[in-house]
Symmetry: C2
Subunit: 286 residues, 2 copies
Amino acid sequence: MSRPAFNERLAELVRTRGNPLCVGIDPRWELLPAAIRGRHDNTGEGHAHAFTEFGLHVLDLVGHLVPVIKPQSAFFEACGPAGFTAQAAILKRAAEVGALTILDSKRGDIASTATAYAQASFAVWGADSVTVNPYLGQDAVEPFIAAAREVRGGLFVLVRTSNPGSGLFQNLTCDGRPLYQHVAGAVNDWNRGHGDVGAVVGATHPRELAGLRGLMPDVWFLVPGFGAQGGSAADVTGAFRADGLGAIINSSRGITYPFHPDDPAWEEKIVAATQRAIAELQSVMP
Amino acid sequence: MSRPAFNERLAELVRTRGNPLCVGIDPRWELLPAAIRGRHDNTGEGHAHAFTEFGLHVLDLVGHLVPVIKPQSAFFEACGPAGFTAQAAILKRAAEVGALTILDSKRGDIASTATAYAQASFAVWGADSVTVNPYLGQDAVEPFIAAAREVRGGLFVLVRTSNPGSGLFQNLTCDGRPLYQHVAGAVNDWNRGHGDVGAVVGATHPRELAGLRGLMPDVWFLVPGFGAQGGSAADVTGAFRADGLGAIINSSRGITYPFHPDDPAWEEKIVAATQRAIAELQSVMP
């Protein structure tokens, strides 16, 4: 395949669009604009159709402004089989508006099973990259790396997640340093020479971000937790490399639900929230 | 809901069927009987229909002999949306033949996202239980526990997996003992008073099984790695409680693919492989 490597495509998009914002598409029926809900049944299949309509509309509104789009697979799965058709439609539209995609499904399994998940992510759903859980070890991550390299895609391995309870295992001191730093070291090794193995590092741990940047100097970070989860633009500064690249900052609810469902101005509010998040991030990028 | 708790249903089935075997349904197009492949297209949708035909047939052959059936979600996902219709059909048939089901999808995410995965597992796909990855911590597991308790279902948390590379993180020494033992301690706490939070513990680590049984005296173990992955019946003895219960031993490829695709006697071979696995396990149960 002749297209550039994943990290080059990512860097080029962050440069040309001038910001590192990732718009997370986490569709939930009760938060959708009432106007959209009114056109669909309150069933799994109806939800899937409503999620498609909403997601495509969000992409038409702001997909050209940002480098990356991240659908959250769980909300699509909760619709039943039709939800995956919606997920695929949104990933396809993201590509059409020139954004790279991260399928946030946090998959992790071994051997041929991991290969099946990787094939689903890249070949079936059409994502450019996927989030992967490292707990199962080397042979759980390698099939994702192999599949990503075949299509010049990438992956983002969970290192330090943004949730309040993330420390239960990630913060245990293992052989002198926290578990998440061991995972960071492995990610740094897997990424070397290819640039396609990224790290998920939450914005809710600002003091750790700079340390993790030191452990993974060239790795691309996907930083969740900005916005609705409490992380500010100032909190994510440590994620960037000195060249201003190397980090993708995600906001989901802050961008796709800055309105009451009955608000007729929901489209304007999505655009305004996106522009505001972009400006905030531009003000802290190195 | 008036049905008995998950651990009681599990214990009752192991007692009445007289064995702890879990039949894993990991359908792969190239391993299916040629007779089934010949009736379907070599496309994602065709694979899904073939997986349905094969999976339902396996359940009709041996579903009444064993207490538990475990579909591996990755292989269904690799078919596209129709794969999930196949997965749901197999889970439904398993219930009809009186077996409990474990949806092996190794999900893990936080807060409302974890709730969406849990709702998908129990309410949408209809599984009795689901495998869960613990790396994200307390608030990644709790939504699965809450959803399981609503339907008197259960979950199995990955503690020590059966793959050769599982030690990379699981074996790190954290505060004086391996990471997987910390996870075991958390599972033991989550399970207390309810009996619905199990542990995935690989048969490929026989010496650790007895130690893990000591750390989780009342927890139900799901033990993969028996059969094709190299674990023998003798290797799993440490998984059982003294009363002979407490462990479900999975075999996937060894039971569903003991034949060459062109073998016309594939049905007899599935039944024979199941009976042989049951006899082997009965010989080592306490």
